[in-house]
Every structure is written in C-alpha cells, then in structure tokens.
C-alpha cells in the first residue's frame, strides 16, 4: 500500500514537473477590451492579480531595470507607467495620439512610440517625461523595432506598406523597404543582421538584410485545413541564439515555428483564437501567446514545441511582457 502511495505521489510530482516551468517569472498581459493587465505567475501558470489601467491597453513592455511596466493606453492617448511593486500607475508619458506599439532604446531611454492616427513616431525621454522629437513616417505607423546597437529604429506603416529605417541620432528616415500588404510587427534579430517584418493581409513575413536594406526572403504559410485568408501574420519573436523564429498567425489560430537558416516552417502549433502577439520567458524555455478572441494566453514549451497550457485572462488580450522575477 505504502509503495503504491509512494508511486502515486512520484507520478503526481513528475506530472507537475512536466507541466510547470521551474523558474518563477511574472507575466503581464494587456487586455484591450477590459482596460486591465492580467498578472500571471509563470511557475504555477495561474493568474495572481489584475491591474486596472487606462482605456484600450495594447503595447506593453518593461523598463530596462524591470521596476516598471509601460503600457500604451491607446484611447487615452498616453503611455502609462506602472510600478511593479505597488501595481499603481505612477505617471503617464506624453505619447501622441493613439499609441499602439513602442520600443525602448537598449540603454533604457528614450522610448519610441508609433502613433497610428497622425503618422508619426514620437520620441519620449521617459525620465524627464518630455517629447524629444517626432519623425513623420508612412500612413498608419504600427510596429517598432530597434537594432541591438541602438543606432537604427525600424517602423512599419500599415497603409504605405513600408518598413522605414530611422537613424536614432538624426531622427531621419534613411531607407524605406516596400513589403507586402499591411505590415504589422518589425523586429531585429539578436545579431542585428536582419529585420523580420510581418504582413497581415499579405500573409507573409519578409526578412530584410540590415546592411543592404533589401528583402532576402519572403516566407509564406500554408496550413493544412486552414483557408489562406485566415493566415494573418502579426507577432514575431526570435530565440536569443536566433536559431528559430515564432510567428503568430492571427485568425488561423496557429503559431509558425521557423528555422532561421532555411527559412522553412518546421511546425504549426494550434493555440487560442486570433493569436496576435508573443513573448518569451527570459530563459527562452516558454513562449506566451495572446489569443485575441478566446480571451486566453497559450503557453508553448519551446523544447517540445508543444502547447502545454491555456490560461484564461481578460477580454481581448493583446500584448505580453515577462519580467525576470
């Protein structure tokens, strides 16, 4: 009997180990329709808190020291700064109208914000709470990325179908690369050699060579049993060693796993409904996906390339940021 009990306990312990990530990170998810941020403990995979924020929170990142959460409150035309300890909004940053996505300079300041409504990228000093400048870009700017050396900012404009390369010192556009219809997210790989840009309506991801500023590969997605019009790439994330890229494919409810050497899709993972954005845990072992209409996040085990859990959050989860503690 005792042996049986021990075996049962061991089996339970093993099953917990297989589904529970070992390190406790804190996951923050912005909920566009609830005006909240859901806080998840990555070890227990449970919701531990909900923070009330401004209207229509979308883009969400952490300050470099990870003491603060920065969230675009799109309908309030501000960026809110939340103290992670107290979970209170400590200040709002000037953002320009309808901020959606933003990125911090690798040094932690300034912040580059895309303003969908006035075709600008606003540059904000987050310590002095001051607008440093504005860069006119294409129509409906959206995705923001920055090179690892902080010298170049990339921004996508949805209607102009371009990726703009902006010099972070002069604030001038140096190059424009035409991509497929409705570009959304643009992100540098960790070595800084490539920019990956998703095109939502085009249904593709374009890989741009950073030196030549030319497209070197267009990745297309064909998912068995899924109509092509539902394949709408948005969020992109690359592992720190740049070996694999993960692309959220919107209403197809899939995340594509891409080998970055061959640019071939290795696998399509079925997650929740309308998967928009992605975020890795700091150890690159798990990937969180925000699923826009199933109101949950999916957790993907990177080693096994399997979805291990779906966690209900608020309504219309949009962005995700993950802190080391």
């Amino acid at each position: 009997m005792k042996v049986q009990l021990k075996q049962a306990l061991l089996a339970t312990a093993l099953s917990i180990l297989t589904i529970s990530p070992l390190h406790a990170y804190t996951v923050y998810v912005s909920n566009e329709k609830d005006d909240t941020i859901t806080v998840i403990d990555s070890k227990t995979l449970k919701v531990i808190d909900t923070i009330k924020v401004g209207q229509r929170p979308r883009g969400i990142i952490l300050s470099k020291d990870e003491k603060y959460i920065l969230v675009c409150s799109s309908d309030d035309d501000t960026v809110e700064v939340i103290d992670r300890k107290t979970k209170k909004i400590v200040k709002t940053l000037p953002s320009g109208p309808d901020p959606e996505l933003f990125i911090l300079h690798p040094t932690g300041n300034p912040l580059y914000i895309s303003n969908e409504d006035d075709n600008m990228v606003t540059i904000v000093d987050i310590e002095k709470n001051k607008v440093l400048g504005e860069v006119p870009v294409g129509v409906e700017p959206e995705g923001m990325g920055i090179s690892p050396d902080g010298k170049t900012i990339v921004n996508t404009s949805e209607t102009t179908n371009m990726v703009h390369f902006i010099d972070s010192k002069s604030h001038e556009i140096t190059h424009n690369v035409l991509v497929e219809q409705r570009p959304r997210v643009a992100i540098y790989n960790h070595s800084g050699s490539q920019v990956w840009a998703s095109s939502e309506i085009g249904g593709t991801v374009n890989v741009i060579d950073n030196e030549k500023r030319e497209i070197i590969k267009t990745i297309r997605f064909e998912i068995p049993g899924v109509t092509q019009d539902t394949v709408q790439p948005v969020g992109i994330r690359l592992l720190k060693d740049d070996s694999k890229a993960f692309v959220a494919l919107g209403p197809s409810n899939r995340v594509a796993v891409i080998d970055t050497k061959t640019f071939k899709v290795e696998k399509y993972l079925l997650v929740g409904q309308r998967v928009w954005n992605l975020g890795f845990t700091p150890d690159d072992k798990y990937l969180y996906t925000t699923n826009g209409i199933s109101n949950d996040v999916s957790v993907i085990d990177i080693k096994k390339l399997k979805v291990i859990k779906s966690i209900p959050v608020g309504r219309y989860p949009w962005g995700v940021a993950i802190a080391k503690d």
Binding site: E140, E158, T159, R182, E200, I201, I223, P224, G225, V226, T227, D229, T230, Q232, G250, P251, S252, N253, R254, L270, G272, Q273, R274, I293, S294
Partner: protein, 225 residues
C-alpha cells in the same frame, strides 16, 4: 418678419447646427470602416473586428485531420441530434459539455469517428449561420452609407434654403420643401444613430459564433480518446 417665422428660423438654425454636428459625425463614420478594411480587403465591411468569411477545420480541430467535404454526418441521426442540442447560443457551455459527455458514453466503442462527424456538423452549421449574419452586416453597411450620403446632401440643400431665407428670396414652394427636408433630416439622423448604436452588437455576432465553435471543439476533444 412674423413671430412664427422667426421661431422657425431659430429652430432651423439650431437644427442646422445639430445636423452639422451629425454631419461631422458621419464623416467620422468613415473611421471604423478605414480601420476595418485594414484587417480585411472588403471596403464595405463596417466592423473593427476582422472579416473572417468562412471558418475552417484547421482553425479549430485538434484531433486527426478531417475533410470538410465529408458529409457522412448528414446520415448520422445521433450526431445531428447532438448538434441540434448544442449549437443554439442560448444553451450554456456547461450544459453542452453534459450533452457531449452523454453522447460520448453512448458511442464509447467508436468514439473518434463520431466526434469527428460531430465537429464537421458543427463547423458546417456554424458557417451557415455566420454566412447569413455576415451578408446581413454587408447590407447593413450599404444602407448606412447611403443614408449618410442622403443626410449630407439634405444638409447641403437646407443650408442653401437658409441662405435664401435670410436674404428674403425664399419662395413659398421652397419654404414647403425646406420644412419637408428638415423633417426628413431629423428622421434620417435618428435612424442613423439608432443603427450606429447597434453596430457594435451586430459586429460581435460572427465573433461570438467563432468563439462558441472553438469552445465546443475543445469540449469534443476532451472525449476524443
């Protein structure tokens, strides 16, 4: 000028200010459309939610691959009964799970094909309902656009009559037309506003059906062993 006529002009002035505000609002009506066709290529789609015309098996089903062209379920009375029970939106998901569980118990020996057929039936029926709703939204959008056009056009005509009235050159016939147009404008604005209020709900309908199909598919998968 007669007292009555002064009153009329005052009213007309406030109405024109009101209609001007509404006309500005009508221009704003273009905003969600602009946002909306950024998601889909249909310029007539009035919803912020992306237009997903047809749901496919691969978006929803986690079991073995199934063919949407397989209509075997249409000859399976048990499957049809189950789908009729669980597809109506008024049936809460807690109850649908009980129905699926009962169904699974009845078909334990051959459960996988039965659940695959149930999923295909759900997919087919959901797509049928969504198609009607999406078609309705398209017509709704067309009607709303033509109403917006009429409001803007009538506002322009009223402004012309107001000028003439102020200059004292308004004929009796024009005065009658003026009154009719104002009435028409008032009604049109009211209808337009009412429809606008229902737009959010109308646009949610296809999404709610998509959410429900996904949830039902997950419930089927629980018993897919």
């Amino acid at each position: 000028m007669k007292k009555n006529s002064q009153f009329l002009i005052k009213n007309r002035f406030s109405l024109s200010l009101f209609s001007l505000t509404i006309a500005a609002g009508l221009l704003n009506f273009a905003a969600p459309i602009k946002e909306a066709h950024a998601y889909s290529e249909d310029k007539n789609w009035p919803c912020i939610q992306g237009k997903v015309i047809k749901l496919s098996a691969g978006q929803m089903w986690r079991g073995n691959p199934v063919k949407e062209t397989d209509f075997t379920w249409q000859q399976n009375e048990d499957v049809k009964k189950l789908v009729n029970k669980i597809i109506p939106r008024r049936v809460p998901l807690k109850e649908t799970e009980k129905f699926i569980e009962e169904f699974a118990k009845q078909h334990q020996t051959n459960i996988k094909p039965q659940l695959e057929q149930s999923f295909l039936a759900l997919l087919f029926e959901t797509n049928k309902i969504r198609k009607e709703i999406i078609g309705g939204i398209g017509k709704f959008s067309t009607r709303q656009k033509s109403l917006s056009k009429r409001i803007v056009e009538n506002r322009r005509k009223i402004a012309e009559f107001e000028k003439k009235d102020e200059a004292g050159t308004l004929t009796k016939e024009e005065d009658q037309q003026f009154g009719k147009l104002e009435q028409q404008l008032e009604w049109d604005i009211r209808i337009h506003e009412e429809r606008e209020k229902s737009l959010e709900y109308v646009c949610e309908s296809p999404v709610i059906l998509e959410q429900r199909l996904f949830a039902l598919s997950q419930q089927l998968k629980k018993f897919y062993k």
